[in-house]
């Protein structure tokens, strides 16, 4: 009954044995016999031989080719081992046109060796292995009627002998325990939390925090900022601060907390001609002499943006090309971002350095569920 017992058909249809018995071949026998068939089965075309079948010289040549590829592959595998010890993979190792010689030779030798083995096997199969046509018939997908009957009998017998239908207590308690198995999954989902609370809506910015240069942590004086300047900035809280008396106040955040807060609080500081800026009435005076500060986090999906075109005042997000006009309150000019870029109200402290005059008035970064 298994499908492996397909007939293997020699070259001429005459010698095909028609499948016998109540088989799974459906109408194969009718077709093969040619009964009731308006167009007689032409059978298989005559077998044509390959050059290697009829010409011993060609056959020897193919044999040499295949063996040659395998031998070359062996040599390359040996070369791989030699290269492994000959060339150092260290940063000071040999290079070849800027490539590390170790990686280059290891990859080339092993790759070519495996390629040659593969090509050799294909060549062997195509040119030298036995070459004849085979016919395989389609079978119906269903099992035979006997198999199906047998399976049903076994099922009913199992149901009867286990007493599944009879012993209601056992059955129902089993169903109950299986149903409860879903509960641990739900309980464990709790660990995906805790809920973010207001973390998505807040940053560490508040009145009085200095706006400092990212990486160096240096505070910024307005007179040091030129027209057309771009400063990638962060709040001073993230950097160790040297006090006047020589002591160092350590950064207020460290480790994971620092990373979490830093991604939200990143800002860019830009300066443009004051007459180019068209602030909303509520935002007049949010800048210092043409210096404006905006969130660096795109309101689309939160990429950090700093492609700043100083002449057009456009800020472009490299991820999806959202373009914001920073001279016009961070208005979206182009792209998928739905909200203008949040602006930070800045001023100067008594030492003349740029500080935040308040936190962000709206959540920075992309929209989220609760925000709508």
């Amino acid at each position: 009954m298994s499908s492996e017992s397909r007939p293997r058909i020699p070259r001429t249809p005459d010698s095909v044995e028609a499948p016998t018995g109540t088989d799974s071949h459906g109408d194969d026998s009718l077709l093969l016999a040619g009964h009731n068939d308006p167009i007689p089965d032409p059978g298989l075309p005559e077998h044509e031989y390959r050059p290697t079948d009829v010409d011993p010289a060609m056959e020897r040549r193919a044999e040499r080719q295949v063996a040659g590829m395998f031998i070359l592959a062996s040599l390359l595998i040996v070369a791989f081992c030699v290269a492994y010890f000959a060339f150092s993979p260290s940063p000071t190792g040999q290079t070849f046109h800027g490539f590390a010689l170790s990686n280059l030779t290891l990859g080339l030798t092993l790759g070519l060796a495996m390629l040659l083995i593969g090509v050799g096997v294909i060549q062997w199969a195509k040119k030298l292995m036995t070459d004849h046509e085979i016919v395989e018939y389609r079978h119906s997908a269903a099992s035979t009627a006997e198999d199906r009957d047998e399976a049903l009998v076994a099922f009913h017998q199992g149901a009867e002998e286990s007493g599944f239908g009879r012993r209601a207590l056992v059955r129902n308690s089993l169903i109950g325990s299986l149903a409860l198995l879903g509960l641990p999954a739900v309980v464990m989902l709790r660990d995906l939390g805790p809920l973010p609370g207001n973390a998505l809506s807040t940053t560490v910015w508040k009145k009085g925090i200095r706006v400092v240069n990212d990486v160096s942590g240096a505070p910024i004086k307005p007179q040091d900022v030129e027209i057309g300047q771009l400063i990638n900035a962060e709040p001073a809280l993230f950097f160790d601060e040297k006090n006047a008396d020589g002591t160092v106040t350590p950064a207020a955040f460290a480790g994971t907390d620092l990373q979490v807060e830093k991604v939200k609080a990143a800002v860019i500081v830009v300066r443009m001609q004051p007459e180019d800026i068209t602030p909303l009435p509520s935002r007049a005076g949010w800048g210092v002499q043409g210096i404006l500060c905006y969130s660096k986090i795109c309101t689309h999906v939160g990429c950090p943006i700093s492609l700043w075109e100083q002449q057009t005042h456009h800020l472009l997000c490299p991820c999806h090309q959202s373009t914001f006009d920073l001279a016009d309150n961070g208005k979206v000019l182009f792209g998928p971002a739905a909200r203008p870029l949040p602006q930070l109200h800045i001023g100067t402290d008594k030492d003349g350095y740029l500080i935040a005059m308040s936190g962000f008035e709206e959540p920075v970064g992309p929209s989220f569920w609760e925000r709508g």
């Binding site: 031989y49 590390a100 990859g107 990212d214 160096s216 040091d224 900022v225 300047q229």
Partner: protein
């Protein structure tokens, strides 16, 4: 002379005559051309030599005294050069961006039109118009002794301030409206420092008060490391990230596999003979 006259109808005769004429004209020109811009002669005043070059090559757009030319629609025909400093001239002229071939989205680097001497004369003249950034000294651009610490710090500054436009491997990238940020890998150290100070075109300014000269030199050390680092992963395909790698994987890799499979499948040469 008999020889010459018999060969006057030779196919190459016309070519020889033209060549002769060109050489003669060239020699005459070099013998009689006006002596301009030769700072090697002692006592040449850089500023006045630069002024002469400026009037010939730059004044059409930037005005006779570098004051700029405003169009009727109140835009710049050529911006004023008062206060742009020597560094600006060295960058714009030294990279071939100026003289501008034609107005466009941005000034394109091309073959440099002036000799280094002429550029320093132009720079001296423009610097004399008003105070501006000077050309960085060689100590500001020398990264031959950069330590690993400096390269790492430069990398942090580079990734924070530069990668958005110039790509993480300094290969450059596209900008809106047909503009682009150029690759930094073939730019000289001096021009990179100047570009940071000046902010040419759409590039923002990164002045020395916010990113100090030492920090700029660290950035330069990082870029120099990018240029010379060994490629362990084979060809970087322009360091453009997953797009080029995906294109290569799908078109180059999968394409080669499919082509090979089709080719193997077609390898069915038949002899057309019976077995003996």
């Amino acid at each position: 002379m008999r020889n010459l006259s018999t060969r006057r109808r030779h196919p190459l005769a016309g070519l020889v005559v033209v060549l002769f004429g060109l050489v003669l004209a060239g020699s005459l020109y070099s013998a009689f051309r006006p002596a301009v811009a030769d700072s090697s002669s002692p006592g040449t005043d850089l500023v006045s030599a630069g002024r002469k070059l400026f009037v010939v090559g730059c004044a059409t757009c930037h005005g006779l005294n570098g004051e700029g030319i405003i169009t009727k629609s109140d835009t710049n025909y050529g911006p004023p050069l008062i206060g742009v400093g020597a560094a600006s001239v060295d960058f714009q002229v030294g990279t071939g961006r100026m003289p501008l071939a034609r107005p466009g989205q941005q000034a394109l680097p091309k073959r440099v039109s002036y000799t280094p001497d002429e550029i320093s004369q132009l720079a001296a003249y423009v610097a004399s118009l008003g105070p501006g950034p000077a050309i960085p000294s060689s100590s500001e651009t020398d990264v031959s002794n950069a330590t690993v610490d400096q390269i790492v710090r430069g990398g942090e500054f580079f990734k924070t301030n530069c990668t958005a436009c110039h790509n993480f491997a300094a290969e450059g990238g596209a900008l809106p409206s047909g503009g682009y940020a150029p690759s930094l890998l073939n730019t000289t150290s001096r021009h990179i420092i100047e570009a940071m100070i000046l902010g040419p075109g759409q590039m923002p300014v990164f002045d020395d008060a916010v990113i100090t000269p030492n920090q700029k030199r660290d950035i330069l050390a990082y870029i120099t490391m990018l240029k010379t680092q060994t490629q362990y992963g084979g060809s970087n395909l322009g360091s453009r990230g997953p797009v080029t790698e995906g294109l290569w994987g799908w078109l180059g890799g999968m394409g080669a596999l499919v082509t090979a499979a089709v080719w193997i499948g077609n390898q069915g040469v038949r002899a057309g003979k019976k077995r003996r």
